[in-house]
């Protein structure tokens, strides 16, 4: 059955191991593909280099969070204790660095954690509950023991026939066309492959 080309998400291939997936990724990187991704049950050591990634920018969000935390702790303590309602307690100064340290530290840590998690969600575009790759029924194994590589149709280098041959050369098996919409004729034995929450 042929399906409209415009809804094609890409071509997926399965690989037998982390090592073979990494070798394939190196070759895809060198071929100049931009829109592609590999999928694995765990982070593969060295895969970022194999895919040609820069360092993750999550740390930038963490830093922003940390700076916000430290600043807000300072503003909070200084404003409440020294500006808004100065109150002498046990003859201590209204504001001093030493007793402020624990709260400076705690709020810095707290907002760094918030910054990190916000950065992660923004950079990974999560939560995104549906994605075309979930339409591929073999893909369920990605969180078990499956290693996959998907070349996306949006890449200018993508060409169905040539890309399929490329994936075969890389050693991929079960090469499958992945569409934006769920397969209208799913495998009868696996009804749960139809949709995804």
């Amino acid at each position: 059955m042929s399906r409209p080309e415009s809804t094609l998400h890409g071509l997926g291939a399965e690989f037998p191991s982390a090592a073979s997936l990494m070798h394939a990724a190196e070759k895809v990187r060198d071929s100049g593909f931009r829109k592609w991704d590999v999928y694995s049950p765990f982070p593969i050591h060295g895969m970022d280099a194999a895919m040609g990634f820069q360092r993750s920018r999550v740390s930038l969000f963490s830093l922003l969070g940390g700076i916000t935390g430290l600043t807000s702790a300072f503003v909070l303590i200084y404003y409440t204790s020294a500006l808004n309602y100065p109150l002498i307690v046990q003859g201590k100064p209204y504001f001093a660095l030493e007793p402020s340290m624990p709260i400076f530290f705690e709020l810095t840590v707290l907002l760094t954690a918030f910054g990190t998690i916000i950065g992660l969600l923004l950079l990974t575009l999560m939560p995104r509950l549906h994605h075309p790759v979930f339409n591929w029924d073999r893909f369920k194994r990605v969180s078990d023991d499956g290693f996959f590589l998907v070349l996306e149709a949006g890449d200018p280098r993508f060409e169905k026939g040539a890309s399929r041959r490329f994936l075969e050369e890389l050693g991929g098996s079960h090469i499958t066309e992945i569409y934006q919409d769920p397969d209208p004729f799913p495998h009868p034995a696996r009804p749960e492959a139809k949709g995804h929450a």
């Binding site: 090592a19 991704d37 050591h45 409440t80 530290f105 705690e106 707290l110 023991d145 929450a197």
Partner: protein
Amino acid sequence: MGNPTARKTGTARRKEAIDARSHSEAAFAKAAEYIDRKPLVSNKRPLSWITDHVCRIVEQPAPLWWWIATVFFGAVAALTPAMLTYLVATGVGVWGLNVPVCWAWDITNFVFWIGIGHAGTLISAILFLTRQKWRTSINRSAEAMTIFAVICAGIFPAFHVGRIWFAWFLFPIPNANAIWQNFRSPLLWDVFAVSTYFTVSLIFWYLGLIPDLASLRDRATTRLRQMVYGLLSLGWRGSNRQWTHYEKAYLILAGISTPLVLSVHSVVSFDFATSIVPGWHTTIFPPYFVAGAIFGGFAMVLTLLIPFRELYGLHDLVTDKHIDNMCKITLLTGSLVGYAYSMEFFIAWYSGNPYEIYAFMNRAFGPYWWAYWAMITCNVIAPQLFWFKYCRQNPWVVLALVMFPNTGMWFERFVIIVTSIHRDFLPSSWGYFSPTWVDITLFIGTIGLFVFLFLLFVRFLPMITMFEVKNVTPEADPHHHGEHDSHGHASRPAPAKAHA
């Protein structure tokens, strides 16, 4: 195409680096063959075995023992709200604390529970930064334990304030009195430390859960499961464009949790150390409290993991090696705690301060001598048996031995708190604290709550971090070429649920 030459050189350089690394790793692998190091996952289990064995705890109908235990501990947990309701409805007088012992069982229980939590963060953060790969199969349950322990801990100071309906005064919220919190008070630092600790631990725990929740989603057989785990896993798909940010975020959270865990019990100890009470006013308190917290926390991790590993047959994931390592940490921190006890005594004598000397003599030989010697027996003497390999290798001996630190760490807090204040500077205000039945029942209630929450956790969430355990198997190594082609899917045991 961009600039192919520039790209090529960068690529070539990267390739060289990877090649060089793979050579050295191959050399390491060769050397490892000669060194008898026990694998972290026994019996060379394949990846799908790990997924299957962890997920089926959640997927299969709960065993009978789980129902019995959950109903029992649920009933015990119900004592907590019952006692709190009774307390609030009747008045603070139903607790045994009174002048001079104004901090008694409630603060003892608070420090006890908050300390329990520390092992979880230590395993998940400090052992992560120090690349201790054996942490992978125990970190999830230890982190869960942290969160439940902090929940139990939070109950006590919240109700200790007396008028619980004013507990929001603890937070800097503008109020009708136009007055703010005293930011110079360690009690306020404690509010910030404990709430930050709870929040960050929860975020860290949830972050670690995301890929494993995706495993549960992908294996779901019912629509409800698929929806719930699908929502919770935020649409995780294990792509490397996600993993790269995920790993960075995990590293940063581990990095900030490390000083955080050390700070929390330090701040808790400031509640005591910044006062002028003999027995509390010591600079040794922060490290002493942190060591004690890790000691008590590891004992509790062992207490929970040994039975659950038996009940769910997880011997290949939580191996004897893991238990052995945890026993060694218990031995180390137990010895540190013992050192702190003797150093406290030494400093009391060396200070030449009669009140300080009296406070410590009174601890060991005064009316609460039984609590002091229970503490010494449980925390200093009992863990020394972990020097013997036999004691570390036999899980039932371990389980019996860790009951001593579990008890002893409660006594430690009781000794520090109650014996220091029950004899004030003036003999006219001396007193003797005894708990009431409400004190005792409430504490039992929180133990029930803790175990009850843990039972729910093992039932509904994967209790072992599958993706991290997979990551420490030989197959996860991208330079693992052993059975490169033979270990395809043909060799995969087809019906995974057969061996139920």
